[in-house]
């Protein structure tokens, strides 16, 4: 069981990812944009972060960049959950410090497998 932070501006996407991960016994917190997520992340620690890319206020790439400045999140797996799988977005995310990416629309089994993989 791990503690995972889910960041997406779409509530239904958050719900779906959360329910998938909860079904495997993970503990979930969520946030609707990067800024909110950063606030939550500062206060506690998570075993993994899953974030959308295109969000209002603070986008996913900025969030990753900001999280990596926190000592707690130096090595934490951060996955980008996005449909914008074009390479420049991915590499932008990677150079900001993202661990990898998940593609949406997602299939629950695959999502879970990937998350479990990064949790080790």
């Amino acid at each position: 069981m791990a503690r995972i932070l889910i960041v997406d501006d779409s509530a239904s996407m958050r719900n779906m990812v959360a329910a998938t991960l909860q079904s495997a016994g993970h503990q979930i917190k969520d946030a609707a944009d990067g800024q909110q997520a950063f606030g939550v992340a500062k206060g506690e620690s998570f075993d993994a972060v899953i974030t959308d890319l295109n969000m209002p206020v603070m986008n996913g790439i900025e969030l990753v960049r900001n999280l990596r400045t926190l000592p707690n999140y130096k090595y934490t797996p951060i996955l980008l959950l996005t449909t914008e799988s074009s390479m420049d977005k991915k590499s932008e995310g990677k150079s900001a410090g993202a661990t990898g990416w998940l593609v949406k629309p997602f299939n629950p089994e695959k999502l879970l497998a990937t998350v479990n993989k990064v949790l080790g």
Binding site: I78, E84, M87, K110, K117
Partner: protein, 744 residues
């Protein structure tokens, strides 16, 4: 693991309706300002994108393919390859409508009617294939990359990693059997800082076949020079098994550009296999981007999804039909208003800010503490603990009040929910009528009870339509009258006392009282000799049977008349009034109660009865001084209150009951105000002030003049709530009667 996706439908639908509203507002703004504000475009894009993402996961292929085309267009705009023309805005707005219809069908578990969406798609495709040639390639790329599903996705990546090979899977598996792979993996030092753990990758490879790992540690610096954040080790791995190249690559997917990776097949068939694989990889790549240039690129998307997703796509639309029970089915019969956006919330649920819920949870926490304190106190109670008990009860009272306020606040929504439908409506109307209209909204954040909001939507729509249709003049006419050619409609909402006031103001031709009166006489609504004041004449507009038939048009002349508008507003406990100046314009003002459920009341006693006076209506309470009482005539008695003469209304007379005291001297007078008029209510005693839950008298008994409802008090007795406005109207009627009798 199985997850029932249906549980997410409702939230997704509501979110999508909201997203469509956001898109629509953004589009209207762009259409108005004429500039493609990048932030605005991105917001619109994001909405379409979220809808597509959710629809894809939940298995609504019709929505996916439709939004995909919108997204393609918007993406071109975002990249600057295309600008939004009026034509494309129109098309996008129509698409919002079409999507709303599609969502409503899904919500009601009806099959989706795709005639409209097909027409729109055709129009989009025509647009996308039009001159903006740069746009077309951008669209192709965007679609290809956005498809984002594993096979296409990895195929695209191959372009960046030509050593890689997407088609190896098929070629390799044809050959079957075990293969031996030699993998050189040299990560860049900072790889650990992205949370990528080489061990994790090895573990994944280990699942594919038997793995030998050899670490090369030559470059690891001396211990005192080691930086813990950096990775100095490289590895040589030997993987044995029926494994394809893309399986291996997918394990390294995330670290591709942060390492040197060398994957080599070292068993007997290696060379020929690799060569053919490379070739087909290129073909694959082209195929992937070609495919997206096809007219309906998105259709391919669900098929390209990994297998389990395809299954859910096929299943989802059929599944709801098989189970017609549950919340979705229950919602289906709910009436839908024509504008769609609001109708989504007409059903059961409400979206509430997290802060409001958190606040509620805190309060419940406090309540629990108070409760446990009280029950502990009660366990072995003696008189010494009386003070603590009193404190506890006081705390309980406070908790309850706060909890109640907090729950009420949950029902409150900003009126922007209703206002937001107007920009679109006005755009459409202005195109239809040829009138130029500028809409100004203010006070959109004013909060209003959800039930009131839902019911005020249609009357407001009607009023705004009327303002444009009857109020505003054609541009030429306006120019001739020395006005700006563009007419102005203002919508304003604000809190005034316990009410919310919504004003619809136009700067049009205004209402001509003479014309109205003439028409009313013609229709027999007003007797020929009867004289009316101007406000009374305006009021005629709301009479049933009064229609400005001369100007009935496509817009406002349909069905619902102003009488229905007034009836709706009255049934909400509100009222409507008109102010107008000929040639300058009109203002229609709608007063509504903030909530229909709870009222702050002053309890008063008259004889044996307890009545409730809405606290907001009370100006002051005083003891009558005989010298200020002024008997005008008959039964009309006025009280001199500073500058005002306030009619005294004895409640016992109004309701024909026994009072303790019928003398005016030293009696208690509660001065109340409604609509700028004051009256003084004569009561026997002032009791407590408290919040009461309003129960309708009409639905439980029947309408009674002067009474707006009833409530149940703490001791279980029923108490009537006074209708201040009604009492004032009655008093002024009596006053007029006494005036006229005096005159006669």
């Amino acid at each position: 693991m199985t997850i029932d996706l249906k549980q997410f439908y409702q939230v997704f639908f509501e979110e999508s309706y909201e997203g469509l509203d956001v898109m629509e507002q953004g589009l209207l703004e762009i259409s108005k300002s004429g500039t493609d504000d990048p932030e605005l475009i991105n917001t619109i894009f994001r909405s379409a994108h979220s809808i597509k993402g959710g629809a894809g996961t939940l298995g609504f292929p019709e929505i996916v393919s439709f939004t995909h085309v919108l997204e393609t267009l918007l993406d071109e705009v975002r990249d600057g390859a295309r600008s939004l023309t009026n034509e494309s805005i129109d098309l996008l707005l129509k698409s919002c409508d079409a999507l709303r219809d599609m969502f409503q069908s899904l919500e009601q578990e009806q099959p989706i009617d795709d005639t409209v969406s097909k027409e729109l798609l055709a129009a989009f495709e025509q647009m996308l294939s039009q001159p903006s040639a740069t746009g077309e390639t951008a669209a192709g790329e965007a679609a290809g990359s956005d498809a984002g599903l594993s096979s296409q996705d990895s195929a695209l990546e191959q372009t960046f990693f030509p050593t890689g090979d997407a088609a190896d899977g098929s070629a390799g598996s044809d050959a079957g059997g075990d293969k031996i792979w030699l993998i050189g993996f040299k990560p860049e030092p900072q790889i650990l800082l992205t949370g990528n753990e080489p061990l994790r990758i090895f573990r994944e490879l280990e699942e594919l076949g038997s793995l030998d790992v050899e670490a090369n540690v030559e470059v690891v610096p001396a211990f005192d020079q080691i930086s813990v954040d950096e990775c100095f080790v490289s590895w040589t791995l030997r993987l044995d098994g029926s494994v394809d190249r893309d399986d291996i690559e997918s394990a390294f997917d995330w670290v591709m550009d942060e390492c040197e990776l060398n994957i080599e097949r070292v068993d007997a068939h290696a060379t020929s296999d690799d060569a053919s694989a490379n070739e087909s990889a290129e073909i694959e790549v082209t195929a992937a981007s070609d495919g997206t240039d096809e007219p309906t690129p998105a259709v391919a998307e669900p098929q390209a999804a990994p297998e389990p997703a395809t299954v859910s796509v096929a299943e989802a639309p059929a599944a709801p039909a098989a189970k017609p029970s549950g919340t979705l089915a229950a919602k289906a019969p709910a009436a839908k208003s024509e504008s769609g956006g609001m109708s989504s919330s007409a059903g059961g649920s409400i979206r509430v800010g997290i802060d409001k819920v958190d606040n509620l949870i805190n309060l419940v926490g406090e309540l629990v503490i108070t409760q446990s304190m009280l029950s502990e106190l009660g366990n072995n109670f003696d008189m010494d603990k009386l003070e603590r008990l009193a404190n506890g009860l006081e705390q309980l009272q406070q908790n309850t009040r706060e909890l109640q306020e907090s729950v009420m606040r949950i029902r409150m929504l900003p009126i922007s929910f209703t206002f937001n439908r107007f920009p679109r409506m006005i755009r459409d109307l202005s195109m239809k009528t040829g009138k130029k209209v500028d809409l100004v909204l203010s006070g959109e954040q004013t909060e209003l009870d959800k039930t009131v909001m839902e019911q005020i939507g249609d009357p407001l729509v009607h009023l705004v339509r009327n303002a444009i249709d009857h109020g505003l003049e054609m541009p030429e006419e306006r120019a001739a009258a020395g006005k700006d050619e563009t007419g102005k409609i203002q919508l304003n909402a604000e809190h005034r006392g316990g009410n919310i006031v919504i004003e619809i103001t136009d700067d049009g031709r205004g209402i001509d009282p003479d014309k109205i009166l003439a028409k009313a006489r013609e229709k027999g609504l007003v007797a020929p000799e009867q004289e009316l004041t101007v406000p009374e004449i305006y009021d005629l507009i709301f009479e049933p049977g009064f229609s400005t038939a001369a100007s009935v048009s496509d817009i406002s002349g349909r069905g619902v008349g102003m009488d229905v508008v007034r009836r709706n507003i009255k049934s909400l406990g509100g009222r409507i009034e008109i102010e107008s100046e000929l040639g300058k314009g009109s203002t229609i003002r709608v007063h509504l109660p903030l909530t229909l459920a709870i009222l702050d009341g002053q309890l008063v006693r008259v004889g044996k009865e307890v009545f409730i006076i809405p606290l907001v209506a009370i100006v002051e309470s005083l003891q009558i001084k005989a010298e200020l009482v002024n008997r005008v005539s008959g039964n009309m008695v006025l009280y001199r209150l500073r500058e005002d003469n306030v009619p005294i209304v004895p409640i016992y007379k109004e309701f024909n009951i026994e009072a303790d005291n019928q003398e005016l001297e030293n009696a208690l007078l509660v001065v109340v105000e409604g609509d700028g008029n004051k009256i003084g209510l004569l009561v026997d005693d002032l009791l407590a002030q408290q919040q009461v839950v309003i129960k309708s008298l009409e639905s439980n008994y029947r309408r009674v003049e002067g009474i707006s409802g009833a409530t149940i008090l703490g001791d279980g007795s029923v108490s009537l709530i006074l209708d201040i406005q009604g009492l004032i109207t009655r008093a002024s009627r009596n006053r007029r009667k006494s005036h006229s009798s005096r005159a006669a």
